[in-house]
Symmetry: C2
């Protein structure tokens, strides 16, 4: 289970739902990629697998600085175990996709990460910021975490910024 | 919510989870496609969107013959409404993907449908056939429904057949 609330507001979202949602958003929002020459299948693959490591490592709330300290090591160990349940060639392929996503350097990884950040931001906005309030998250933390949307999709960052400003105006995200 | 039980056995699966699972299976099981020259991205897209119509039309349990009578019309109307929330070019693209999936004629659609059938079969098998028993489903119904896996992925049908035989042997699926 993730910290994000589903837009129906009844419960927290799980990683399968989040992964499906981001893969679908990739297909629909493709035209907003910084460079539309991205490899869509590669981006979709990254998003379908990017949270599999949480089977072992658990979900780390993105604004929990303490838990984030050893997150990388926990997730790296998880990736090795989980991907290596598959035959070697496939394990290698998925490990490489996951590392590309995590490093956020290639065009593909930057768009995948932009979508991965935008999806919970939209959910938080449309659930009146419940997850933000529960964890006492402030505007500057939301901006710091999400401004990398700009790296992969500058137009989507402009949209996300408007949601953040509006959330502050509405009083659902403290300044 | 679908009739299938998640492998953790605690509850029914939902359509987002099912769609994510089938998209991921497509990537992993690609080598078993009848023709490996399929367009993987197109198959993944089909599976990501194939159940969106259930937002309006609801889930029809695959062995419920009564509910299946008007299923096509309900789903067709749902597809028109839901896809047309998008700009026209995208609505047209998704409608065409969904129709291709439903018609099961192209290589891509046949593999997508094979995966869409295999996933709940695996879940039913690994949850001791609870959904089968709840709905009094018998072996011949499972075979009739799932034998089209052979159309898209003959080797996966051989695997599925073994699961069905084993389910009967174990007494979790009545002959």
């Amino acid at each position: 289970m993730r910290q994000t609330i589903i837009t129906g507001k009844s419960r927290q979202e799980n990683s399968a739902e989040h992964s499906w949602h981001t893969a679908l958003m990739t297909i629909i929002l493709l035209e907003y990629a910084e460079n539309p020459q991205i490899d869509v299948l590669r981006v979709v693959k990254m998003l379908l697998i990017h949270d599999l490591v949480e089977i072992d490592a658990g979900d780390t709330f993105c604004y929990d600085e303490h838990a984030r300290e050893d997150q990388h090591e926990r997730e790296f160990q998880a990736a090795i175990r989980i991907f290596n349940l598959l035959p070697k060639d496939q394990a290698k392929q998925l490990q490489s996709l996951w590392e590309e996503f995590e490093k956020r350097q290639t065009l593909n990884a930057r768009f995948a990460n932009a979508i991965d950040r935008l999806q919970p931001l939209i959910n938080n906005y449309y659930t009146h910021g419940k997850a933000w309030q529960k964890h006492k998250v402030k505007k500057h933390q939301v901006v710091t975490r999400n401004c990398l949307i700009e790296d992969g999709a500058p137009k989507l960052w402009r949209y996300a910024s408007k949601l953040i400003e509006d959330a502050v105006m509405q009083g659902i995200l403290p300044e």
